[in-house]
């Protein structure tokens, strides 16, 4: 039988066809891609031009030609939108068609071309070595697989641990929790550590403010005593085997004592082998760095005349002084604030990194709120009569990262940073409310009207409960949750200087006239109370399961932090004190009216 067209020609023709169709299919493919991207990017009504005009329209409503303009643009935009949709649809049809032609051509070429049976020696080679190679590669695949999955697991692990865990969580979490338990503090440290590390991670990859700056981990911080009332500012120290008995007069268990040149009611802070505190009078402001080993003053930085420092002195009372605010450190820099609003950052050798003045505080007793660090942010509570605010400065540069104004009266309390289970909250207390802020952004998380008067004590926190107290007001226990609410309140024993401290389900309130009360944190019923019959200004600290209360005459009253009243010891300093102790491992640093004492077991 004779063919109409000889194969050669047919094949040539088919080749052409396939070429052409191939070209077209590529073309259509490209076009589809382009239009697709266009389509996905645009919402018809939100072309940049129209949005611009819209804004203009808000300024001049009912300007006819403006409206006309918008409508035209809008119409065009919609047209464009629908045409591009149409284009894609038709485009894909065409693409398919051309592909079909291509395939048909090639297939038929394949059919027409006479197939010569080929018997070339297969490249497969001997089965045995072939099998050997296969064997090897399967093994390789296995190893690769395991290693890949392990790396994957490793890299995503921390992030996955960041899940909030608090309250009665099933065992899967709680196990990991115990393993990380460092201390008897109420809120699971594991939770805070984990969520913090995870936040670091999330922060660094979402490039949040200060993400570039490094700062110590929670564990490091908790080995030290970097701010007023401990790492979190809530009166909890994480050190173990702390001394209980000493005697300043006889020098028993006193490792060293050192006179501090200038007076100041601020408390010492500790980082590794160094202690920092400040002193000031009307015209001199100094920060001191002492060697923890021997009490030698390693350096003292003179901050008397910094740029922008106000000429006139703030009016302060003798009970507050010019240096009531305790310093803080992030292990890289030390930050100090004085009663006239002078704020400075020093390096560990006493070099001044930056200074600024926050404006003379309008505060009739004198500014006394202490500083605290959140990651690389220096957080300052600046409640003055007329304008309350809280702000965060970048530790490295002193640039303001955020500032949130607070509708409060002037206060003397200090900020507290606690992890409430799935986030770290910045807790401030001042008339009329206790408020919580996101330390990263300054966004107010919640507030609750429950405190009044001239608030001096800072808040305490344990197990999802925040405790705030003030004289002539009340003791309020706030239970957090979706909406924080007042759990219970009491007004029998109130303090106007010492801050309360809470641990697990116990709350300890020390009144300024010297009564120690232990409450049940959940119900508010009193477990026990003890009259020291000496006034107390220093804030109590709980360390190693004991509560340390230093009265104004310098006697440290130490009780078990427990439901039942158990006196551990009473040790006197031989010098009056109103400052809060700082704890190092096996040591306590106490600032008396004139000296700094180091107590060692």
């Amino acid at each position: 039988m004779k063919k109409l067209i000889p194969d050669i020609i047919l094949i040539k023709f088919l080749r052409r066809m396939s070429m052409i169709s191939g070209f077209f299919s590529l073309l259509f493919c490209a076009l589809i891609c382009i239009t697709f991207l266009q389509l996905k990017r645009t919402d018809p009504l939100h072309t940049p031009v129209s949005t611009l005009l819209q804004e203009k329209l808000i300024q001049y409503p009912s300007s006819p030609n403006l409206i006309q303009e918008i409508r035209q643009i809008d119409l065009l935009a919609r047209k464009a939108y629908f045409t591009s949709e149409w284009q894609i649809r038709t485009g894909s049809y065409l693409l398919l068609a051309s592909l079909l032609i291509l395939i048909i051509c090639l297939k038929s070429i394949e059919l027409i071309t006479p197939r010569i049976p080929s018997i070339q020696v297969s490249e497969q080679g001997e089965l045995w070595n072939m099998r050997k190679v296969q064997f090897r590669w399967v093994l390789i695949a296995g190893i690769a697989l395991v290693s890949i999955s392990l790396t994957l697991a490793f890299f995503t692990h921390r992030m996955l641990n960041g899940i909030p865990n608090e309250g009665n969580v099933p065992e899967l979490f709680s196990r990991s929790r115990d393993s990380l338990q460092i201390n008897p503090v109420a809120q699971s440290p594991a939770a805070s550590i984990i969520s913090d590390t995870s936040r670091n991670k999330l922060r660094s990859d979402s490039g949040k403010p200060g993400g570039d700056d490094e700062y110590p981990t929670q564990q490091e911080i908790r080995l030290n005593f970097p701010s007023f009332r401990g790492p979190d500012g809530n009166g909890i120290a994480f050190q173990k085997n702390t001394p209980v008995s000493w005697d300043g007069a006889s020098g028993k268990n006193v490792l060293w004592k050192k006179e501090i040149p200038l007076p100041g009611y601020n408390s010492p802070i500790l980082w590794n082998d160094r202690i920092f505190l400040s002193g000031s009078n009307e015209n001199k402001r100094e920060v001191y760095c002492l060697d923890a080993a021997n009490g030698k003053i390693l350096w003292s930085a003179d901050l008397s005349k910094i740029k922008g420092s106000p000429s006139q002195n703030p009016k302060v009372t003798a009970e507050t002084g010019f240096a009531a605010s305790t310093l803080t450190t992030d292990g890289i820099r030390i930050y100090a604030i004085f009663a006239n609003g002078d704020l400075s950052a020093l390096d560990f050798n006493g070099g001044i990194i930056w200074t600024k003045n926050l404006g003379l505080p309008n505060n009739h007793y004198g500014h006394s709120s202490s500083l605290i660090m959140y990651h690389d942010l220096l957080i300052i509570q600046y409640d003055q009569s007329g304008s309350g605010k809280v702000m965060a400065l970048a530790g490295r540069t002193g640039d303001k990262k955020w500032e949130t104004s607070r509708n409060v009266k002037v206060s003397w309390s200090s900020p507290v940073l606690v992890n409430t289970g799935y986030r770290t909250e910045l807790l401030l207390s001042a008339e009329p409310y206790v408020a919580s802020y996101d330390p990263a952004t300054g966004k107010e998380l919640w507030k609750l009207d429950c405190i009044s008067g001239e608030v001096g004590p800072s808040v305490a926190y344990a197990n999802g409960k925040v405790f705030s107290v003030n004289e002539y007001s009340k003791l309020a226990a706030i239970s957090l949750g979706s909406i924080p609410t007042l759990a219970w309140e009491d007004n029998e024993y109130l303090s106007d200087v010492p801050s309360p401290v809470a641990v697990k389900d116990l709350l300890f309130v020390v009144t300024s006239y010297g009564v120690v009360v232990c409450y049940d944190a959940i119900t508010g019923k009193k477990h026990w109370f003890k009259e020291l019959d000496k006034p107390v200004y220093s804030s109590p600290i709980i360390a190693d399961g004991k509560i340390y209360i230093l009265d104004k005459q310098g006697t440290m009253h130490i009780f078990q932090a427990d439901k039942t009243l158990a006196m551990v010891a009473e040790s006197s300093l031989g010098e009056g004190s109103v400052c809060t102790p700082a704890f190092g491992n096996g040591r306590i640093y106490l600032r008396g009216n004139r000296h700094l004492f180091c107590i060692k077991k």
């Binding site: 891609c33 697709f36 649809r89 894909s92 049809y93 398919l96 395939i103 090639l106 297939k107 394949e110 049976p117 080929s118 018997i119 297969s122 497969q124 089965l127 045995w128 072939m130 099998r131 190679v133 296969q134 064997f135 590669w137 399967v138 390789i140 695949a141 296995g142 697989l145 395991v146 999955s149 392990l150 994957l152 697991a153 995503t156 692990h157 992030m159 996955l160 641990n161 960041g162 899940i163 909030p164 865990n165 608090e166 309250g167 969580v169 099933p170 899967l172 969520s195 995870s198 936040r199 999330l202 922060r203 979402s206 949040k208 799935y422 986030r423 770290t424 990263a440 952004t441 966004k443």
Partner: protein, 413 residues
Amino acid sequence: MIFLLIIVFLPGVMAIQRFPKPEFESGYVVPVNQLPVQRGEILAWLDVAVLLIALSLVTYLVLKRRSRMGVFCISLFSIAYFGFYRQGCVCSIGAIQNVSMALFSGNYTVPLTVLAFFLTPLIFTLLFGRTFCAAVCPFGAFQDLIALKPLRMGAWLNAFLGIIPYLYLGLAILYAATATEFLICRYDPFVGIFRLNASFGMFLFVGLLMLTGVFIARPYCRFLCPYGVLLNWMSRFSWKHMNITPAECIQCRLCENACPYDAIEYPQVKKNPAGHRKQVNKMVVLILLLPIFIFGGVWTGGKIHRTLAGVNSRVRLAHILQPAHTTNNQPEIPEITAFRGSGITQQDLIREVTRIEHDFLIGSRIFGGFIGLVFGLTLIRLIITPYRTDYVPNKGTCFSCAKCMDYCPVVKD
């Protein structure tokens, strides 16, 4: 057939007790919402019928008539019907997930039609080999169509890539069993083509896959398809499997390069140079190692279970809810809005997530063990000496596409 799509208008039967609407004086009547419904169940059964017919037809063509042309025609039909008309969404491959979800997570019962789609090909394969892959599966048929310049790959590559489907299958079952998601459907490259509509990512995905498909024949079937794993098992022990030659093989070697899928086994009569005893020892060692492989898998599975769980939407939500995400400057993430609206407390969510992760721990351990086993067996298989006198299809990997038959000069007398 397309016009068989029935549309029912539900009249406003639903009793509406609500805030009274404005009374109109102009005699305006409130229109009724028209709520048309899906195509009826009968059509689903019709699909099953079509599947059955197509399967038996292909089987007949391959085993009795040995006609490649017929198979080709059927493949065109199934591309047209299962592909472009049914939009590739009556799919045996996907049915794996419905079945495993129904098996493991209680509150889902698999529709009978889906079950039918899952079973029929398996049973057919158990009897006659992978005739489903040959031409009935639209995906296979489509790839067969575009395999224009199939190149042969080294046996080691086949072995190496041959592992992937097992992983895919394991993951798919894991996610379906935990009611997390349908992995196979999510990354199904071909529905996009059949629908002429896909997200841009999938569009590129399928484009590139087709490109590979030109040179590597049936890349999806061989190196991804999870259903292929099951079919492979079935086919290995099939009752009647197609053969290259209709009668006695004459060792003409014409079919050596006939198979674009490297599924032809060459004759093997020589003894292993390494010696029989050595081989037996190797075998024994491997068999002893098998438990270790499995435990290795279990261990690894336990390690990555959190990573795997991260895909689950609830777990993802728990991450999103971390305060680091909720800053006030950027617009709020919808997940958070929805969560707040849902009235579930964070604690409840955490408890739920913990449960899910626990399920995943168990699941991924089993998954790991399974993969370990697969490795072990694959290695053992590579030790065993085959003894073959003829050129025969590898019953596991052969798609029964009948391509090789045309190469065989032998005719049945």
